[in-house]
Subunit: 653 residues, 2 copies
């Protein structure tokens, strides 16, 4: 089963599908002119729907300078200065409402954030805290009063703020956090209080140094009853930067990375704020303490609120993607010039990227970065265009899944890039060390990846009947146990193209239809098996049944994400109108698909989907694809369009 | 094929084998007294042959304090101070000759270094540079004159020094490094010279701040001819700490970790040193420039010299093991108390280590740490007792293999521990962040892991006919092509026990004999296949044949190391004389063996060694073993005996 026997060229002859406008329409405008540079052709496809915004964001980033070697406090000060430069450059305006001077471009705001991921990651994260989390919460959970009062000051950085959700004792399980906001009708105030050390707000960005106000998530108590978690605006520092009375602020101190972000801890000792400080879009308290909400049920209300914050998770996936691309660009540029060991026949020293082992480390990871890029594009478009509740829940699920997969890919790939650069990769001057340290926390912040994948599985098993967070992990057991629905694989992108690919497919390894069938078939089988296992549960043994199946749950979520990512890649290839570029992209897509199958080939073997011989042929095909793509490696990373300012290091000069 | 059907208890009834004295005899002395504490019983087994030295080294380490949060220069100064404390405590004496006040205990010196791995890793590495690499090179490559002149000053830290081998342009391929030492008979001096920037010595520990002298590896030129790489002592700083004339010293600056070590770059501009500065044990130059050597052949000579430095590689494996244990101890203690999400039946919050997914992340890694610990013990004993050339070459090969596997295990496991501690794991105060940053370079220093595994494969294919480094990677192709030898699996530990286990084995997954057979059979098959592939090569296509088989080469080396590690574990279990502890260790050994098989189960499926059903049963058995070992997790990490001073962090108090 050789690599050349398949129908690799399939996609090049397939016409535009009717759903192609959901992402990346920009690539079409530049279709003319056959002899254009391939790097530029790839780059335009990667730019996608928000192409011109991406280019102007890249220009803004390219004008900033990388930080010098600074101590922690100086680094924090440097980041704040850069924040001002971003504010002056208009970066924060993109996602905010036009009536406050913004641009009302939700998708664009995620793309602009993603671009920051090519630069200093402390700056990216601090920008995300200020404008994405803090500003986003005021915008999404607040109402006109709050918008009128705060949005302009948030955009201009006049009001630096925090998003105070996580507590020391409750990270993943935010529904059970323990800070309280108790309404006192006698003064028409909320009393915000930290009952004990485990309820203090922890790891809060912007808290240790710069924040003046915090969106504090707390159990709302009004009229003598609890109403679940709500968000309240609490001033934490005065104009001089001193903590407000009753507010205790601690510094989280040095971290593995992101040391330009001032993470801190907040505790509240019966701090009083006016009634109007409740962000009251999803729940309000009347002057007399009467509670009202447009959303029925405490859990549903909380996860409706959380759902409006899905942009943060999508942004992390994008930022992680950018950092990964930067590490790959550095490692591939270095591997393309670094030589080691003399070749016996020619006497020349061998360029290390000519070694199969080196290609194996870097090129499947590069192909996966392409795949995740296109999946991210689809996701950003879905966020921008979301129109109904079911789409919203599907979006939340896909955001959770892609965030988990993209951030693990980042951690693994950046580690590989570090090792691929040897001792040089360990020096800060060569940048990969910093990327590794800064991105490490992405796997656990904005949702721990393991928890997120469980939410993905739940969404699949319940056909998105509820918000992804709306049950504890084993809640899905009870939910599934009550149902008899079959598993339906719903295509998320390029539906018409994929229908055609699958129906006309052969069994060649390089036939895209065959690859898609493997991904779909695996997902269906894994999910059906999981549903059968979980249906055995009763209310009494829900935890044990869930727990025994937990690796099955995680596998189900992963293979689902794999399939969604492959579909996005197929759709992207279809949008490409330059034949040579399409041919190259098809090989990258083959490498993504086959290396993903190879990584999980034990499953395909265990379930009779691959014969032993064919499984070995998959590994052989991955080797051959690595060899074929090796001459294009530099082009493929150049097409990311990373500003040269951010790729300047001794190893690549 | 359930987990309970096997003969798990097999080993407990098997008597002592006759090779058990090669490692861990110490455990026997404490055999009496049935009711002794299980942690202590495990600990004594882990202590092994150098038990009392290990305990006294732990005491010395326990008396040191962890470093406060320091800037780079302050941290370097702190580390130097701690070095003095180690020197005063007698740490450096262990490995040096008795005639200079040392203890002549080679194995003991590695164990003492390994213990330092529980503490500050900059201190461990700086100690390794000073006493292991610099002092070790003077001892192993020099002769009496050098010993008389320098060893006492090296031990006392009066003469801080460097090991200047790696160059910017040549890391793995040290045989082709380009610094020259040209003999000038008119003055009876060597002229040490750096021809260009790529030949400068790079990443050299102790160079940027403290080193006074360097062992410089250079191409020796004498009598008008080149004689290959030799080591020359070059003073680099005067008594006042200023660089010597002609010596240029640069600072490598900030690194991902190990910032208490002053890595630097050294360049030499025609620096003259006396003829006596040549470390002349393996090659000497007479006053008139006549070269002589007891070792025939330039390559063989160089690798004989390198071979004497094998202790460094073994030390890194040990140090990596200690850092991994410390991370596991922190993550498991935290996982044993941290609670998240409420259990539906009881209403209690669940301890996170009760989740299967959490067990899956930490417990197979813990079992592997046990396995690698016992393999390290065997290796240290082999180093201590090495008696002939073939044993030396086998030792070099095993050192290369275990270094690669142990350091990759460290990188992966410490990453997992970080994630298992969530956001708390990202804060420096909780220690895992530092462990991750400091250990990262272990995968590429003292030999890049990918290159080392290739050397292991070469050793296997050539039955250790030459030193492991003695050929470039594809040299093995020509070597193997010339031969017709079959592959013989040579048991490295516990030979008699394993003979018995294998001959009496059933097919149950928990039958140790079955497990050993799988490891042996896989190694034999992979190696034989590799030999067949490589034999196809001719001189002209050696590079291409080697390169196409490179992933096969790496797999062969890995499965060999896996087998050696399992044998060491079997031997260790056999040394245990407490029935309860033996039963526990047998479960840990099962988890190591089965999780290793699970990780490579695609191979077993592809080669008809596991049926699909049995392969799934392996995964199920790993799940069940995780559940069974979970109650013992704390005991298993406590038995590492890590001083509490080095386990003090907010998350575990």
């Amino acid at each position: 089963m050789g690599i050349t026997s398949g129908g690799a060229g399939n996609q090049t002859t397939i016409g535009k599908a009717d759903d192609q406008t959901t992402a990346g329409g920009a690539g079409n405008q530049t279709a003319a002119g056959g002899a254009r540079n391939q790097t530029e052709a790839l780059r335009e496809l990667l730019d996608g729907r928000w192409g011109s915004l991406r280019r102007s964001s890249l220009d803004l980033l390219g004008d900033l300078e990388p930080p010098p070697d600074l101590g922690r406090e100086e680094y924090r000060a440097w980041v704040l200065e850069q924040m001002r430069a971003l504010a002056e450059g208009g970066h924060p305006l993109i996602g905010f409402p036009a009536e406050y001077g913004g641009r009302d471009d939700v998708g664009g705001s995620v793309v602009a954030f993603e671009v920051l991921g090519f630069g200093d990651l402390s700056l990216m994260v601090k920008a995300g805290v200020q404008w994405g989390l803090f500003g986003g919460a005021v915008q999404a959970l607040g109402t006109t009063t709050h918008h009128d009062r705060y949005l302009r000051a948030i955009m201009s950085l006049e009001l630096p703020g925090c998003f105070a959700m996580t507590e020391t004792g409750h990270g993943s399980d935010v529904q059970n956090l323990r800070t309280t906001a108790t309404y006192d009708p006698s003064t028409e105030e909320f009393v915000v209080h930290t009952p004990d050390a485990s309820a203090r707000k922890d790891y809060i960005g912007n808290a240790a140094r710069d924040g003046r106000m915090a969106v504090v998530f707390a159990q709302l108590v009004a009229g003598g009853a609890g109403h679940g978690v709500h968000a309240v605006l609490v001033p934490i520092r005065d104009e001089q930067g001193a903590p407000m009375p009753g507010v205790r602020i601690e510094d989280c101190g040095p971290k593995a990375g992101l040391n330009g972000v001032d993470n801190g801890r907040l505790s509240f000792d019966h701090v009083r704020v006016p009634r109007a400080n409740l962000l009251n879009r999803y729940g309000d308290v009347a002057p007399d303490g009467t509670y009202s909400s447009p959303v029925e049920g405490e859990g549903r209300r909380f996860f409706t609120m959380l759902g409006t914050l899905v942009r943060g998770r999508i942004s992390v996936a994008g930022g992680a993607g950018s950092a990964t691309k930067r590490a790959l660009a550095l490692a591939i540029r270095y591997g393309d010039t670094r030589r080691q060991f003399t070749r016996p026949d020619t006497g020349d020293e061998v360029v290390v990227l000519d070694y199969l082992a080196h290609q194996r480390r870097l090129l499947p990871a590069l192909a996966t970065s392409y795949a995740l890029h296109f999946a991210q594009q689809e996701l950003v478009s879905a966020l921008h265009d979301v129109a109904d509740d079911r789409q919203q829940r599907q979006l939340e699920s896909r955001a959770a899944g892609l965030k988990a997969v993209a951030t693990w890919h980042a951690t693994r790939t950046i580690q590989t890039c570090r090792e691929a650069c040897g001792g040089a990769g360990y020096l800060s001057e060569n940048l990969i060390a910093g990327l590794k340290a800064d991105t490490d926390v992405f796997t656990t912040f904005e949702g721990d990846n393991t928890v997120l994948l469980q939410l993905v599985a739940k969404g699949l098993l319940t056909s998105y009947r509820d918000h992804v967070g709306d049950l504890d992990p084993w809640g899905m057991v009870r939910f599934v146990a009550d149902q008899a629905v079959g598993v339906v694989i719903e295509r998320t992108a390029a539906r018409a193209i994929i229908d055609r690919l699958v129906s006309g497919s052969s069994d060649a390894l390089l036939d895209r239809g065959w690859q898609v069938r493997q991904f779909e078939d695996r997902e269906k089988h894994v999910l059906e098996g999981l549903a059968r296992r979980l249906r055995r549960a009763s209310r009494d043994n829900a935890f044990d049944v869930f727990n025994a199946a937990q690796d099955h749950v995680l596998h189900a979520a992963r293979v689902h994400v794999d399939r969604v990512v492959l579909e996005a890649f197929v759709a992207a290839v279809d949008r490409c109108d330059d034949p040579e570029t399409t041919a190259l992209l098809n090989q990258v897509c083959d490498l993504y698909a086959l290396s993903a199958i190879e990584a999980d080939r034990a499953w395909f073997l265990e379930h009779g989907r691959l014969s032993p011989q064919r499984s070995k042929a998959v590994s052989q095909a991955v080797n051959e694809l690595c060899g074929r793509l090796r001459p294009h490696a530099r082009t493929l990373v150049d097409a990311f369009g990373i500003p040269e300012t951010w790729l300047t290091a001794p190893i690549v000069t």
